[in-house]
Symmetry: C2
Subunit: 336 residues, 2 copies
Amino acid sequence: MAETYSIGVDLGGTNLRVAAYEGGREFLETIVLPTRLNLGRDQVVRDMCDAVRALGARDFGHRRLAGIAVGSPGPLELPAGILRNLPNFPGWDGFNLKSAIATGLGCDIVLENDANLAAFAEQRLGAGTKYGVSDLCVITLGTGVGNGLVLNGKIWDGANGMAGEAGHMVVQAEERSRCGCGGYGCLEQYASATAVIRMARESLGDAVSTAHEVAMLARSGSELARNIFDTAGRALAIALTGLINTLNLPLYLLGGGVCEAWDLLSCPMFRELERRSYVYRLTKPEVLEPIHLLEGKTYVLKAELGALAGLLGACVAGLEARLPPATLGKEILGHQ
Amino acid sequence: MAETYSIGVDLGGTNLRVAAYEGGREFLETIVLPTRLNLGRDQVVRDMCDAVRALGARDFGHRRLAGIAVGSPGPLELPAGILRNLPNFPGWDGFNLKSAIATGLGCDIVLENDANLAAFAEQRLGAGTKYGVSDLCVITLGTGVGNGLVLNGKIWDGANGMAGEAGHMVVQAEERSRCGCGGYGCLEQYASATAVIRMARESLGDAVSTAHEVAMLARSGSELARNIFDTAGRALAIALTGLINTLNLPLYLLGGGVCEAWDLLSCPMFRELERRSYVYRLTKPEVLEPIHLLEGKTYVLKAELGALAGLLGACVAGLEARLPPATLGKEILGHQ
């Protein structure tokens, strides 16, 4: 049997990343383009399809294309592939992205939520492989708070693709200001980079513009800055209490820019988690950063893969898609 | 092939229920005993084994015993079968209930958390079957708040049997009084029958002694009593927001004594759920009490099975256990 490769796409609000992939943590080749949202969704899909075709036309040692998978921000209705109300994609609400791409390429594709693909990558290539775990939850503290669940080695999409929105678990019932999702008191309002910056501006003034700067201030002794990571860590612990007490997974991974302040975030988080979650208290490991995981324990660790986790996850999903080779071969490789 | 039956056990704090079962929602025969906790755990296990043997010695039309399953209050370490800190079972912490019963009976048994078995029964015999759903979550508002998850038609035990503790999701971060689990601000502190009675005594005085009485007061016009179900309903909505936004299941079922006040509980719950959960807003059905479920919608309904759901679940789990017939036949049926 010929060796295979896949093409993965990560559709971000700023960049469109397309990669050819045959396994491991590296790509065969990548194309990075700006996401030209100002030119409309059809142009963005055309740009994406052009980049996929460009990679499909390359000769990766005669490997056969196993599949193409695209990661998109959610909420996303699956399996249909319809986008719902993406905050940074005006005019895309109700757009059937999956069929638009499939039509553009002339072949079936896999479409998934980008945060779910990042979790999938962690399971297949990151902490999941390292520790031999097939069930895990990833929470990514970036501009927003992303989340993905992998159960029994598979992405948990839920009934219609909207699972994995732990960023919008309620952690502060009394919150009066509104979250981007329309709710109140969501995790994202306390633990995203956006929230860290907002809280810093409220208490420290306008000079601060990144979560990294807030962390630097905290490390250099600012108690106000330190309090912000306390708040973020405690909010995270309240959401984790829900996820641990209901799902009892062996592994919860935290990633994203805010986690670079792990030294500031983790102590208040673990303290609050012990206070809140009796399942965590009963299953807490003695060693928080272990060489291998002990059975029956609950680990909360930093994610292994960085900002490209979503793209890697798309690539792995493409590799495992195993679409009919004739379709892909003819349509992608033949019709350039 | 001979027809089969099973024996299910529900180990409660007050009663020990043992039933023979061949399918459907009815039992072939049941034995109900007081749980003699005052005589110690060994006596309770002996009582249980005696009752199982008594049913095993009966002739149910020459049916073959397919398996025995026992439901116990949690937390419960699975698959080992060790009890951890049951609030109403003093002296049982660390007790290997599974091996004690297996030794007592001379055969393998299935041991599960009782709330998980109640959810399993709902999936196999109740709303799951009625609506053709293999993923569901059951929350039971009784003395405590029980919870079970069935994913892909199977009980979700988690890494070591401690999944399904949604009663201890945090719904009120600022709560200062402590939950029975040792945490603060858990769902159980607002939506259990115990919580309803506690809140009623705080606002209405000592005359009230059941959740039913509080409901009667609310229906007869007491605003203070009505506020209590508002609080319970909103707390439930905050926990459901977490469960819906992370798991995106098609069906969430609410059972237990407090749900008899569905007329008082459901309006504030649905109102708060819409306010909090954007996944619910995107997937909310037009008809809240449907004949059949529409795909892609999220339903929150009353559970179909009553107080015997746990025992029914144990019976079904026993029937599906398919343990080696020789073992069971010889040990149970032969050695009376």
